[in-house]
């Protein structure tokens, strides 16, 4: 900084703006804080709650949701929404199970499933972009389409007996002490890491944020807005099919009715994780925290034992509302400054 500009007023202003800049992290930090608080309460209430494995089980039980939430984060950051993810998960599971039954090599099958997910997402993205249709409507159509395709493959549940899949379902990767995770956790965390890198270290990722901040501005700035908007749905599609594979590891079957409403869990996790539904603000790590919060609610209910599992839904609903209100307050503050 030059000597000329070193006056007290601008310095104060910059310190102020730095503080306000931190407000960007507030919703995400609130989620992490909430998770820690819930974990502490659980530890105080139930013996055996405070263990590393309880935490790791949260990851193990929610690998597919983590991956879904990552893809959803990309879409929501641009200000869009993808309602098709639950159905694409089911479709991926059906394709996986039926191809394995037909004797396909698991690796070739997984490649095909990922390709299907990507194509499905990209097609929806193209429709949204080219015909300027609301993402809500297009992905709703995608939801019905993918779900319908499941029934075309098979109305009945298909069991997976493939040795690779059964071994993945049972495999435990030991950590320190008696702690362990499943291979799915490694994959899910890898997806999170890659997503984090893409969002923060590539022009594509920054364009995702720019579109959420102002689509017309991003266009006037000469950014690749149309391409990016199509690609985020492709990414969400890929994430859905990865989630489908992970779900197959977990359930060892394919069933047309599987993963119904999972898209809503993914959206809830992203929103609870601090990503603004209007786009532009949010972090993929926040979405991970969001999944963990939803997971720990479930753990609570199961530890309580007397409560019906419906309470999970009620608590998630209340949490969602609380976080939307928090975001509203946050955006109002941003606009005032």
């Amino acid at each position: 900084m030059s000597v000329l500009t070193r006056t007290p007023a601008p310095l104060d202003r910059s310190r102020l703006s730095r503080l306000q800049g931190r407000a960007r992290y507030a919703p995400t930090l609130a989620t992490v804080g909430l998770f820690l608080a819930m974990f502490a309460v659980g530890a105080a209430m139930y013996p055996g709650f405070l263990s590393g494995q309880v935490f790791l089980n949260l990851l193990i039980d929610n690998t597919f949701l983590i991956v879904l939430a990552v893809g959803m984060t990309f879409v929501i950051l641009t200000g869009g929404i993808d309602l098709s993810v639950g159905s694409v998960v089911a479709l991926s599971m059906m394709i996986a199970a039926s191809l394995l039954q037909a004797g396909w090599n698991p690796v070739a099958m997984i490649a095909l499933v990922l390709l299907t997910g990507a194509t499905f997402g990209l097609l929806m993205g193209l429709v949204i972009q080219v015909f300027e249709i609301q993402p809500f409507i297009v992905t709703l159509a995608g939801l019905f389409l993918a779900r319908g395709l499941c029934y075309v493959i098979s109305v009945d549940s298909i069991t997976v007996t493939d040795p690779f899949f059964t071994s993945m379902a049972q495999a435990r990767i030991p950590l320190v002490g008696k702690l362990f995770v499943s291979p799915g956790v490694v994959i899910a965390l890898l997806v999170v890491a890659v997503a984090f890198y893409v969002l923060h270290q590539t022009r594509f990722g920054r364009t995702v944020y720019a579109i959420g901040g102002g689509e017309s501005s991003a266009l006037l700035m000469g950014l690749a807005v149309p391409r990016t908007k199509v690609l985020v749905y492709g990414i969400s599609g890929v994430c859905s099919s990865i989630a489908g594979i992970l779900f197959s590891f977990y359930s060892l079957s394919g069933y047309s009715l599987a993963a119904t409403g999972l898209e809503l869990d993914a959206i809830a996790a992203v929103v609870v994780g601090g990503t603004l539904l209007t786009g532009g603000y949010g972090y993929v790590l926040g979405s991970l925290a969001g999944v963990l919060v939803l997971g720990i609610v479930q753990t609570f209910i199961s530890y309580e034992g007397t409560l019906s599992s419906w309470w999970t839904r009620i608590v998630i609903g209340a949490l969602l509302l609380a976080f939307i209100l928090l975001q509203k307050l946050f955006t109002r503050k941003v606009r005032l400054t």
């Binding site: 601008p10 306000q20 800049g21 960007r24 270290q201 022009r203 364009t207 959420g212």
Partner: protein
């Protein structure tokens, strides 16, 4: 100033839109190291000219030469590539990202493994430093800064591409005096570095402060190009507003309408020090029954804002308002309508008429809204009213079923007027009722306004055309820089008198 080779040379530019000739053979030049102000009232063609230069509109006729090469820009990106950068009135940046990112977005320096954030910061700091904006923290979030700073960041972004031409479209409209000075020092820095700057502003004081050269447009035509010191303020204003056509002379008969007596009765509407933060202030006006109050002032002086306050479209946070002698607070347009106030917006298309509905449907809208939707106006009454007003206002085509969007601007305006007249208002606020319509329709509407007032209706009349305001009004409230500066009875007031108030430096 020595005449060098212009960076941009536009010759004989014409652009026509359906029904309007937006630009008609306009010449325009930009010289390196000069601030060139483009001036004209609303609809003069300023923004069309800018859009022609930045590749938003295609040119129908004429040539654009940039740095010696003939150009026809198909997209804004093509114009940017040729070194023409534009900073728009509304900041077109991403408020959710940091300052450094906004400066370099899409051009971030990269290394193996992604964006080189340290170089991003360094480059951003360099650009800010060059513009003497080193005090802006490049890491701070854009939305944490004032609009002024955001505007400067937008300029920094424009400079990052090494622009030879910088277009600033109304950059000062939301800045305060200190911020304007900061912007001007940046403009001067760039000018001294040889950048050609096109500056559009409706604040004449700023134009005189910062510009070296001026081009004045009126009704899509070039009035002239002048060196700033050669054209005094009064001369500029009369060139911008222009002399009216003789066709309006026939209105003189309406002039004989006597000014209503102000002293006796309670005024219909009285505002005292009415204002709203960020809008206008110090609005003190009185409107009696049968009186026409004219609002005069340049574009952006707060004419429309005043109308919106009086109608409750914006809620006032300063001053008092009384209607019929009782103090009132207008919270919504609804409460204004209930007190007999009607407002015809200046945006016929966006805030007034519904293009896909028929003349009859549009006419009936306000009446129906007033009655509530569950008490439908009978079809026969609708037809009767529509026919009566089509005849009374000479709306053409005289078919109550034709769609509004097929009518000419003048006839659309008449429909809008008729819509409010049907509700029989006590006070009619007309914002630019004669803008963009042909001279014949203009005269008809002016006559109608005076005859309405003669019948006892109060009118608040807003127009960019000063002569029109002078001809019709009993009282003239003059606005300047979003503040009401004078209220004068119209007894032989001349254009010069009003211009002196508008041009006066001591507000």
């Amino acid at each position: 100033m020595t005449e060098t080779v212009p960076v941009v040379d536009m010759q004989g530019i014409s652009i026509a839109f359906p029904g309007v000739k937006a630009l008609d053979g306009v010449d325009f030049r930009l010289f390196p190291g000069e601030v060139h102000a483009l001036l004209g009232e609303n609809g003069a063609g300023k923004s069309t000219l800018i859009k022609a230069l930045t590749g938003v509109y295609a040119v129908d006729d004429g040539t654009i030469t940039v740095m010696g090469t003939r150009q026809s820009f198909a997209t804004p990106a093509a114009a940017q590539a040729a070194g023409i950068s534009t900073v728009y009135q509304e900041v077109n940046l991403c408020p959710n990202l940091s300052v450094e990112e906004n400066i370099l977005l899409g051009r971030e320096p990269r290394r193996r493994g992604g964006i080189h954030w340290r170089n991003v910061r360094r480059r951003a700091e360099e650009v800010l430093e060059q513009l003497q904006l080193g005090h802006i923290d490049p890491r701070s979030v854009l939305s944490s800064h004032s609009i002024a700073i955001q505007q400067l960041v937008a300029i920094a972004r424009a400079m990052q591409v090494d622009a030879r031409v910088l277009i600033l479209d109304e950059p000062t409209s939301s800045l305060d005096a200190d911020e304007v000075q900061q912007l001007f020092s940046v403009i001067r820095t760039l000018r001294d570095r040889g950048v050609a700057i096109l500056f559009v502003s409706h604040f004449l004081e700023q134009v005189y402060e910062v510009s070296d050269r001026m081009t004045v447009l009126r009704n899509g035509r070039l009035v002239g190009e002048y060196l700033t010191p050669d054209l005094p303020r009064m001369g500029l204003i009369s060139k911008m507003i222009g002399k009216e056509l003789d066709a309006l002379a026939e209105l003189e008969e309406a002039e004989s309408r006597r000014h209503p007596d102000r002293t006796q009765e309670v005024p219909f509407l009285r505002a005292e020090g009415l204002g709203r933060k960020g809008s206008v202030r110090d609005v003190t006006v009185t409107v009696h029954a049968g009186e026409i109050l004219g609002l005069a002032g340049l574009l952006g002086s707060g004419r429309t804002e005043t109308a919106r306050l009086l109608f409750g479209a914006d809620r006032a946070d300063q001053g008092q308002l009384s209607i019929g002698g009782t103090a009132r607070t207008l919270r919504t347009p609804r409460s204004a309508i209930d007190r007999g106030i009607a407002f015809s917006s200046e945006n016929r298309k966006e805030e007034g008429l519904i293009g896909d509905l028929s003349v009859r449907d549009n006419l009936i809208l306000a009446l129906q809204a007033g009655k509530g939707w569950w008490r439908r106006v009978p079809r026969t009454t609708q037809d009767e009213l529509a026919e009566r007003f089509i005849r009374a206002l000479d709306i053409r085509p005289s078919n109550k079923d034709s769609l509004i969007r097929d009518l000419s601007g003048g006839n659309q305006q008449k429909v809008l007027l008729a819509r409010w007249l049907i509700t029989d208002p006590k006070l009619l606020i007309l914002d630019e009722p004669t803008r963009g319509i042909d001279i014949g329709a203009k005269t008809q509407i002016q006559k109608l306004i005076s005859s309405l007032a003669a019948d006892g209706m109060s009118v608040v009349f807003i127009s960019a055309e000063l002569e029109e305001v002078l001809r019709l009004s009993d009282h003239i409230a003059i606005l300047k820089d979003r503040q009401m500066v004078a209220d004068i009875p119209n007894d032989g007031v001349t254009m010069e008198d009003v211009m002196t108030v508008i041009a006066g430096t001591n507000a």
